[in-house]
């Protein structure tokens, strides 16, 4: 556990997050010209979320195989336009079914 006060933690988390939301619309309003930085910022979200998803999704479930199946199903659902709720629900359902069969 952490020695830092949890409320200090929550405030710092909110301020750092808020800065990323507000700065481009207030202080840094010039479009970014540098091609490398542009491309870097373009890829960062995909890499970050992908890295956070796998292999973590296999540790989130009771059986790693259920998490792996949820990943495959989630990718398919998102690809075919299931949207936020549809994709999340598909993943949950797959884990429920897989674990009923496997455990």
């Amino acid at each position: 556990m952490n020695g830092i006060n949890v409320y200090v933690w929550i405030i710092v988390m909110a301020l750092a997050t808020g800065a990323t939301r507000i700065l481009p619309l207030t202080l840094i309003r010039k479009p970014i010209e540098n091609k490398f930085i542009q491309s870097f910022l373009y890829y960062v979200p995909y890499v970050t979320l992908a890295v956070m998803t796998f292999p973590a999704i296999m540790d989130a479930t009771q059986v790693p195989a259920a998490g792996a199946l949820a990943l495959v199903a989630g990718i398919a659902a998102a690809w075919f336009g299931a949207g936020l709720f549809g994709t999340a629900a598909t993943c949950c359902l797959i884990v429920l079914i897989a674990e009923l069969l496997l455990i």
Binding site: A16, R21, T87
Partner: protein, 249 residues
């Protein structure tokens, strides 16, 4: 100002209505985030507060796990800036849709309402961004997000293990819903995601790097893979599809 112009209140209410499907999705995903928050030592009130003030799925997930891992505030700030770098990008994109000469107050409001899904709704709406519409969508989404988190923390442990296990992947489903659809338009993204999965797995098993905390591994991978992708497949402004041409597929 024509008589056809909607009042601020009507625009706000329209935003609220448009926010309902987002709010429902958020509630379920936030519940799953709450289960994580609980295991990281946050109580329902603290989780509610974090969700009301940060409302960032991936960011909060990382923030909670870093807290449990005993990280420093500096590590937290660096990780928030990287995990939420996409909001910077969305803000830059939204700038193009803000009416010239809009004062700082409404600009801050528009920025504050940025989340993956609200940005999606805003950017696909024709015309200038109306802050009142955004605040409408955001208000309802925020409340459901925060209540979902608090509920996940409060009752996550009395649910049967099977249900918790199933619910806990909702967050990852939400991540996939953000990153997979753009692959249809830009194959480079798909390749980058595949490499991210592969290296993320390797980093959990390779000696040396596997001893890093998961937060630090994420920072390292996010910076290195994004930089490599930016060098190998620099983004072309107008048509991202062209980016991979000549890359050899």
């Amino acid at each position: 100002m024509s008589k056809f112009e909607q009042t601020k209140k009507e625009i706000f209410l329209n935003g609220l209505k448009n926010g309902i499907p987002i709010a429902v999705g958020y509630f379920a995903v936030a519940f799953s985030l709450g289960i994580t928050a609980r295991s990281c030592g946050f109580n329902a009130f603290q989780g509610f507060l974090a969700s009301m003030t940060s409302y960032a799925s991936a960011g909060q997930y990382i923030g909670f796990t870093l807290y449990a891992a005993g990280s420093t505030l500096l590590q937290l700030v660096i990780m928030m800036l990287i995990t939420n770098a996409r909001y910077l990008l969305m803000g830059i994109a939204l700038n193009q849709k803000v009416r010239e000469g809009t004062p700082i107050g409404p600009r801050i409001l528009i920025g504050m309402t940025i989340t993956d899904e609200i940005f999606g709704v805003t950017i696909s709406k024709p015309g200038y961004v109306n802050p009142y519409f955004n605040v409408g969508v955001w208000s309802i989404a925020l409340i459901f997000w925060s209540l979902g988190t608090a509920l996940g923390i409060a009752v996550g442990n009395i649910l049967p293990l099977r249900a918790v296990s199933a619910m806990s992947v909702a967050l990852y489903g939400m991540f996939l819903a953000s990153i997979i659809p753009p692959v249809r338009k830009d194959k480079a993204i798909g390749i980058v995601i595949a490499f991210s999965f592969a290296f993320s797995y390797l980093f959990t098993v390779l000696p040396g790097v596997s001893e890093l905390s998961s937060g630090n591994r994420t920072i390292l991978l996010a910076v290195v893979i994004s930089a490599a992708a930016a060098l190998i497949a620099p983004r072309k402004n107008e048509e991202p599809e062209i980016a991979m041409e000549g890359g050899g597929e």
